[in-house]
């Protein structure tokens, strides 16, 4: 009843091609962004910002990047953790080599460095496909982490091999380092993820995104109609790695504060891949839903016994958490194999027909 576009006529090409052609969508998205920018920093306490929302935003950005590659271009990658590590270490090297550099610029440059690395590791995708490509990108994961662990130059010869986010200001507001407040970090991460979500949304509905999907759906057919596989696949790897690189830089600078290679281990790659699968392959919204699911559900489950006032040994609690979380993943995949984004889409369809379904 409320959610119905009847009567909304498009009189220009611009309005017909708008990102959100339905007015209700525009209102909801606008309200959500406004709430995230204004209400959340006022309401949320430090625990929520630092332990829940900031990791959520950063993982959402990484999932967005992987979704472009896996969901849209159809190239399975298990190297996300490695690419995020490139972003983190590149941002660290850049800020330590050029102390005067704006740290936000350093994030973007770190993304560029990661894009180059991604290009290199994307080369095998021209010959290998599917599961075999996943194994090839796994090599990126292990090689990159080994490199950062082995070559002391990447950590500025720190004896412990740990990189630390230096204190940096933007417009005299502390953005990184221990003295940066949680709302500032949160807003920085939010700005990046909003900007890149917009970029991604526009990419995938333009020529580039269509050529990715053509390659994904049937590469030989795409080649025959004139999509160049080399350029298209490598572009997908580069852009995806760029997103992951920025996410990795944020991961070190805005979330952890200091990190070693262990923070980017294979589990991170799997987590981001699960986010994309559970959220929905080939969906921008799905990246956010998947990140929310994977980041927030375990934290929620950890806190449930406290909320209920049940005194439970922590080990038991952790094991129950893992079991419930695994069960939820399976349940969601059985109910909707196309991910949470598809669930939302179905809900939208139903809302349009409501209250007279047929």
């Amino acid at each position: 009843m409320i959610y119905r576009e009847a009567g909304q006529f498009k009189s220009t090409y611009a309005s017909d091609q708008a990102l959100f052609p339905i007015r209700q969508d525009r209102v909801v998205v606008g309200l959500a962004v406004a709430a995230a920018v204004i209400a959340v920093p006022l309401v949320a306490d430090e625990y929520w910002l630092q332990a829940v929302l900031i990791p959520f935003l950063i993982y959402a950005l990484a999932a967005l990047g992987l979704n472009l590659l896996t969901g849209y271009a159809g190239q399975v990658s298990l190297g996300t953790g490695g690419f995020m590590a490139v972003g983190g270490y590149a941002a660290f090297k850049l800020t330590s080599a050029f102390p005067g550099m704006n740290v936000l610029v350093a994030f973007l440059l770190a993304g560029l460095v990661t894009a180059l690395v991604g290009l290199v590791f994307g080369l095998p995708s021209l010959r290998i496909k599917g599961f075999y490509l996943a194994v090839a990108t796994l090599a990126a994961q292990f090689f990159l982490l080994w490199l950062f662990n082995k070559v002391a130059w990447f950590t500025d010869y720190a004896s412990s091999g740990t990189i630390t986010a230096p204190p940096r200001t933007v417009a005299s507001i502390m953005v990184t380092g221990p003295a940066a407040t949680a709302p500032v970090r949160y807003l920085t991460a939010l700005a990046f993820v909003a900007l890149f979500a917009l970029v991604a949304k526009n990419l995938v509905r333009g020529r580039v995104g269509r050529s990715w999907m053509a390659i994904r759906d049937r590469d030989i057919a795409a080649e025959i109609i004139g999509v160049r596989p080399l350029r298209t696949k490598l572009l997908a790897f580069a852009i995806s790695s760029f997103f992951c690189g920025v996410a990795g830089a944020e991961y070190v600078f805005l979330y952890l504060g200091s990190a070693e290679t262990q923070a980017f281990d294979i589990n991170v790659s799997f987590l981001v891949l699960f986010m994309v699968i559970i959220g929905g392959l080939g969906s921008i919204l799905g990246s956010f839903l998947g990140a929310a699911f994977i980041v927030m559900v375990p934290i929620f489950l950890t806190n449930v016994p406290h909320l209920l006032g049940l005194a439970m040994p922590v080990a038991l609690q952790k094991q129950i958490e893992l079991m419930v979380f695994g069960g939820l993943i399976i349940a969601f995949l059985i109910v909707e194999p196309h991910g949470l984004a598809r669930l939302w889409q179905i809900a939208k369809e139903k809302l349009r027909l409501w209250p007279f379904p047929y």
Binding site: T162, L310, V314, A315
Partner: protein
């Protein structure tokens, strides 16, 4: 239908039980001590006994004395799985709870690195007892971080001194081969610079062999050990890595009494899986093993006999259990030191920090609290948050750990200048300035 009924009954039970369980706290004289533990995951063999020791000592104080000078300790555990991200989540969740956390004992070098910058902003003491960032032992640069009784760098120098003693003098080390097998993480790498410096000084050939997390696969490492055929092997391991290493060493018939683990690599869980092969394996420690202390009798009487325990009774006195006890003891003695100045009431975190910085644990005091001969006295100062404590070497005889050396002093003349230089470097990275200790009261 039955499933539905069960669900409804469950929900009802939870709703009824919830308010009843929620009304425990909210007493006036309390101090909150969070305990970040790992009782699950690949590091649980090391994390569980430590967590039990810490829990039991604090519970024993609550049960026997009603807390510290009338202030009860509220202890809450938080599972980290030795994972830095979960550790940060725990820290953020617990730091403001129950009137505010007094101190964090992260029991993970990775988590310690995370907390060092954060905790100083939140004004909470981080006590990384014998782990963490060695450079943070300079109290002038890192006022909120304490590493006493000793650090990885001091420990490595003590172990080299011990090896020197066994070889008949430090000058005999020249040309000897020593291998350091380390967990490939900030924790494991921590001892490397000191060992390198000492290898130059004493002329022994040092080989560094990294083992990747979690350390279940070490065939290649021990193949290399076999090829190098070193006189001594020193290990910085943790969790399952330790038992795998001990097994592998036994499998290649390495002389176990020339294999020394650091203090996180020498507990019962590390040697028992290797069976008789582990006999003779040595490890560093800064407290005695076993249960022959008054404290252990009190723990049994006030914690286990009253059913307040988490762990099993037969694990009391294990090396890492006692490590948890000594950690809890340092913490409560620091609280007592602060209370002697600020009065017997719940402290602020600034007062706790003062207590840590002025802790002077004497032989007489150890005797009073039922830990005579358990550990070495410690004196913390504004400059020195490490205390430069000596270490003991313990040896596994197949059934239990026995101390086989006197207290071995670290080579402070080597360690301290490097430590101060590193503190300047690490402090500057965080934008800190040096504190003038002569102006502290």
């Amino acid at each position: 239908m039955t499933l539905r009924r069960v669900m409804i009954a469950l929900l009802a039970a939870i709703v009824i039980a919830a308010p009843a369980a929620g009304t425990v706290s909210a007493q006036a004289k309390e101090m909150f001590v969070p305990s970040t533990v790992y009782r699950t995951g690949p590091y649980a063999p090391s994390g569980t006994p430590f967590a039990n020791g810490l829990w039991d000592y604090l519970t024993m104080l609550n049960e026997r004395d009603g807390g510290i000078n009338g202030v009860r300790l509220v202890v809450e555990e938080c599972e980290t799985q030795y994972d830095t991200k979960q550790g940060v989540e725990c820290y953020e969740r617990l730091k403001g709870k129950n009137g505010g956390a007094m101190v964090f004992n992260p029991l993970s070098t990775g988590i310690t690195y995370q907390l060092i910058p954060k905790a100083a902003v939140d004004k909470i003491v981080v006590h990384s007892m014998g782990y963490g960032m060695t450079a943070a032992s300079d109290g002038r640069w890192f006022p909120w971080v304490f590493t006493f009784p000793t650090t990885y760098w001091s420990q490595a120098s003590s172990v080299i001194r011990y090896i020197g003693q066994q070889e008949g003098g430090l000058d005999k080390l020249k040309g000897k081969k020593i291998v350091h097998i380390y967990h490939n993480s900030p924790y494991g790498k921590e001892a490397n610079p000191t060992l390198e410096e000492l290898s130059h000084k004493y002329g022994f050939e040092l080989t560094l062999l990294a083992v990747d997390h979690p350390g279940q696969e070490q065939k290649a490492t021990w193949l290399q050990v076999r090829r190098i055929n070193p006189a001594w092997v020193y290990m910085s391991g943790w969790g399952v890595m330790n038992q795998v290493a001990v097994k592998e060493a036994a499998a290649i018939n390495f002389p176990m009494d020339h294999f020394i683990g650091n203090w996180w690599s020498a507990s019962e869980a590390d040697v028992i899986p290797a069976g008789d092969g582990a006999k003779g394996y040595k490890g560093a420690t800064f407290h005695a093993p076993g249960t022959n202390f008054k404290v252990h009798a009190d723990i049994v009487k006030f914690v286990y006999d009253r059913g307040k325990n988490i762990g099993p009774k037969d694990k009391i006195g294990e090396a890492l259990y006692n490590r948890g006890v000594v950690n809890a003891m340092y913490m409560t003695e620091a609280f007592r030191t602060a209370m002697a100045k600020y009065g017997n009431k719940p402290l602020t975190t600034e007062q706790v920090r003062w207590g840590y910085e002025h802790l002077n644990l004497t032989e007489a005091r150890l005797d009073q609290i039922g830990l005579k001969g358990f550990t070495h006295p410690v004196k913390v100062t504004c400059e020195d948050h490490e205390g430069s404590g000596p270490v003991l070497i313990q040896q596994w005889d197949g059934k239990k750990w026995n101390v086989v050396s006197d207290w071995i002093q670290p080579m402070r003349e080597v360690v301290r200048p490097k430590l101060e230089a590193a503190a300047v470097e690490e402090g500057k990275k965080l934008g800190y300035t040096m504190r003038d200790c002569s102006k502290e009261n």
